[in-house]
């Protein structure tokens, strides 16, 4: 590959730079529904992901009600409990977080932040959304299918996922697998766009090392997803064959109710390998965009350049690469060779190094910064604390000898909710409060935002801190009810009631957030083009919300990196990326 020389060094003449042919919508339908504009697609992705996310929120309420008041609610029996936890997990991880970070934030921010007019393959990008919507529709259908959705747990481990004792063994598991396959196809279409747009559509002057960290995070996460989702694809595909066509890829010989099933010789461990080969990178598919976004939020709202930009970029790339060689730490209790356990424990602990570098750099960015406690900043700070908390319990669980006794307890549930549930969701909220003014032209309400933050942040700790304690006591996860258990004291039940009350309150705060989103759309304070006085390109568009094609007649030219905040001697405390020279005061 030869580096393209775009323009000349001294005084780039815009006419020499080739601009892209844009697709121009001709009707209302192609403008707002079957739109090929990444900004509309981003909104479609976000609204769909958040809608299904609210379904998963309600499911978590039902789970918590059962755990606090076992048997009190007639609509939650053992089967439906397992269906609720399965759907809650699957929706939150894949249909909400993955879709929202990459399909939502990715679509909106990539073209704007790199200075492009749109994604490089807009038609494929549009298809991506519609296939995602279809995947969500298939998932929702399974709730109404005979037997209900699958209750196999979000990991869908065979053989139990397709045996008759598992809820949703009829249509539920088939619809689940079909929905996953559709999701992966749709995601691949979007992912191609995100990667190639970052590679090829950057505007003049936007070198890789001038990209905002948000883009680095989304870009690397997309590469991970493109390479890791195929493992889920293969696992789903083969399991679908086992379920529908009677093959035995994952199914060993099984005697059920005295009867030999038609399966023989398959390997459930093979499924675990495939699933976690996807499953672990998935954690970073969610975490890396969060890392990137939080870096930009902290820098902007602390009016300070990001500390160690190069380190931050390298850490993202290293974490991405390492995430492919740690999948075995999810399988310590699968009976694997202890030597493998040692290997995976080592790689797992090594990941802590680049991750810790990022945390130090966020903290050092805050050091002596001019910190504004805006709502996005509160969420970003909440993320750092939560991520450190969840990350430290990850160091516990990364060690084989600690993991084995803890692996089937609530400790694991508490750990992964902190590190890949609460932490990324806080960034999602921070990102929405930060970019909502660009998307809609109006600010979200500050008072409601503060309420939303404090209830969510403190509430999440009220939920998940005690849960670690329950796990250490030995309270098992995945149990519909504990009943009389010698090693679990009655106080655990009281604690469960407390957690449930906190969960109900935190859930209610998300309804306040939803109200804020809708109310501010009509009544919010007008935002202007750059309410946070930020440097990145998306805040420098000629119109807010940005028009079709993002930029006016000419594409912007980038003269500097994304973090020129509080430059000594500058007139303003920020210098936009497209400003040729620093204006000096006086």
């Amino acid at each position: 590959m030869v580096d393209a020389t775009i323009g000349a060094a001294e005084g780039v003449s815009p006419a020499e730079v080739e601009d892209v042919e844009l697709y121009h919508p001709r009707s209302w339908l192609t403008k707002y529904v079957f739109s090929q504009d990444a900004k509309i697609i981003a909104i479609q992705y976000s609204v769909t992901a958040m809608s299904i996310g609210y379904v998963a929120l309600v499911l978590s309420w039902l789970i918590r009600l059962q755990l606090a008041f076992p048997g009190r609610f007639s609509l939650i029996d053992a089967s439906s409990y397992y269906q609720f936890i399965t759907m809650h997990g699957m929706i939150m991880v894949i249909y909400l977080l993955t879709a929202l970070f990459l399909g939502g934030f990715g679509n909106y921010l990539i073209p704007l932040m790199v200075g492009a007019r749109d994604m490089v393959f807009p038609f494929v990008n549009m298809l991506s959304y519609w296939i995602y919507l279809l995947a969500v529709a298939v998932l929702v259908t399974s709730f109404f299918a005979p037997g209900g959705p699958t209750g196999a747990g979000w990991t869908l481990y065979p053989p139990q996922a397709i045996l008759s004792g598992t809820p949703g063994q009829g249509a539920g598991i088939i619809l689940m697998l079909v929905s996953l396959i559709l999701f992966i196809i749709g995601f691949t279409m979007g992912g191609l766009n995100y990667v190639v747009t970052v590679l090829q559509a950057r505007t003049r002057g936007m070198t890789l090392m001038r990209l905002p960290l948000t883009i680095w995070g989304i870009f690397t996460a997309t590469v991970l997803a493109l390479l890791a989702f195929p493992a889920l694809f293969v696992a789903s595909f083969l399991m679908l064959f086992d379920r529908v066509l009677g093959t035995s890829f994952f199914m060993p010989a099984i005697v059920e109710a005295g009867e030999h099933l038609k399966y023989s010789g398959g390997s459930p461990i093979l499924f675990q390998h495939l699933f976690w080969f996807f499953g672990h990178p998935e954690v970073y598919i969610v975490a890396l965009p969060a890392f990137g976004i939080v870096s930009d939020l902290i820098s902007t709202h602390a009016r300070k350049n990001i500390f160690g930009y190069r380190m931050m970029v390298w850490a993202i790339v290293v974490i991405g690469a390492l995430s492919f060689v740690v999948w075995g730490h999810h399988m310590y209790v699968s009976g694997m060779n202890p030597e493998f356990g040692f290997f995976f424990a080592t790689t797992t602990l090594i990941i802590a190094v680049p991750t810790a570098i990022k945390v130090y750099n966020w903290v050092l960015t805050l050091w002596q910064g001019d910190i504004h406690f805006t709502v996005p900043m509160l969420f970003a700070l909440g993320f750092i604390v939560t991520f450190v908390n969840g990350g430290i319990t990850g160091l516990f669980l990364g060690n084989v000898i600690v993991d084995v006794p803890l692996s089937a307890t609530m400790f694991v549930v508490a750990h992964f909710h902190m590190v890949m549930g609460v932490a990324p969701i806080l960034v999602v909220f921070g990102g929405i409060y930060h970019w909502y003014p660009k998307v809609t032209g109006r600010m979200l309400n500050d008072k409601l935002g503060n309420l939303h933050f404090w209830v969510t942040f403190l509430g999440a700790y009220a939920i998940f801190f005690p849960m670690h304690y329950l796990g250490l006591m030995g309270v098992p996860r995945r149990y519909y009810e504990l009943g009389e258990t010698a090693f679990v004291p009655p106080s655990a039940a009281t604690l469960n009631v407390f957690i449930t009350v906190a969960a109900l309150v935190v859930g209610a705060a998300q309804i306040v957030f939803l109200f804020n989103l809708i109310w501010s759309l009509f009544k919010g304070r007008s935002a202007g083009g750059n309410p946070w006085r930020a440097t990145t390109l998306e805040w420098q568009t000629p119109k807010t919300p940005p028009g079709h094609g993002n930029w006016g007649e000419e594409l912007p030219i980038v003269y500097r990196w994304a973090y020129d905040y509080s430059v000594p001697g500058a007139k303003q405390d920020f210098v936009p990326q497209n400003q040729p020279s620093v204006q000096r005061a006086g």
Partner: protein, 218 residues
């Protein structure tokens, strides 16, 4: 998972090579002013897009083949008599790839007549390959090997079937390009499309050769 890890190592090497060209040690906070080269490739976006797509498809096949090999290492691995017809099919797929390669060369030289005939030949040969694969399936079924008979047969049907579906998908694209070429457009308007088709064809040939080789070794 050794095949998958190997595949990812290749991808990682490409990524590392690419990153090494991108001045990742630059200190952007010191570099004010216009920088001429963004580091973007001079290749068209469609070609890079196809390259990324092939990495994804490659990942899918690497994982299928990994699963195949891991399963083979476990107990009860029956032998699958690979039909002799597969050799013929392999030859047909190779010639289909050769035809598309010659279409690509002709497109670069601006010889539209040659482009047309080569595209047509490549497409027909790919169709013949698909027919041959179906015939091979029938031979296996006649010998009593069905999808659910044993794991060796199941993996063969699934991987060859998925490969065939990818060929079929390629044929849809190739049909479009061939149609365009026969409508008498200028050769420059189809060159990129022909190159993309050839790239995809060579990739599918490589996947098939690897899988077929493993099948014979097993």
């Amino acid at each position: 998972m050794s095949i998958t890890i190997l595949f990812l190592a290749v991808i990682a090497a490409i990524a590392a090579w690419w990153l090494s060209q991108q001045r990742l040690t630059a200190k952007p906070w010191l570099e004010e002013g216009p920088i001429i080269a963004t580091g973007a490739s001079s290749l068209p976006a469609a070609k890079i897009g196809l390259g990324v797509f092939l990495a994804v498809v490659g990942s899918v096949f690497a994982l299928f083949i990994s699963a195949f090999l891991m399963r083979m290492d476990m107990a009860e691995w029956p032998l699958l008599p690979a039909p002799k017809l597969l050799w013929l099919n392999t030859g047909v797929l190779v010639s289909s790839s050769v035809a598309l390669h010659s279409a690509q060369l002709a497109a670069r030289r601006g010889n539209i007549a040659r482009v047309r005939s080569s595209l047509l030949a490549g497409g027909l040969l790919a169709l013949a390959f698909l027919a041959g694969q179906l015939a091979a399936w029938r031979i296996l079924m006649a010998a009593g090997y069905f999808l659910a008979t044993d794991p060796a047969a199941a993996f063969f049907y699934v991987i060859s079937g998925l490969h065939g579906l990818h060929v079929l998908g390629g044929l849809v694209a190739l049909g479009g390009v061939t149609d365009k070429a026969w409508r008498g457009v200028d050769v420059s308007q189809v060159r990129l499309n022909v190159e993309l088709c050839a790239m995809y064809w060579h990739f599918l040939l490589l996947v098939w050769l690897l899988f077929f080789g493993l099948l014979l070794l097993a």
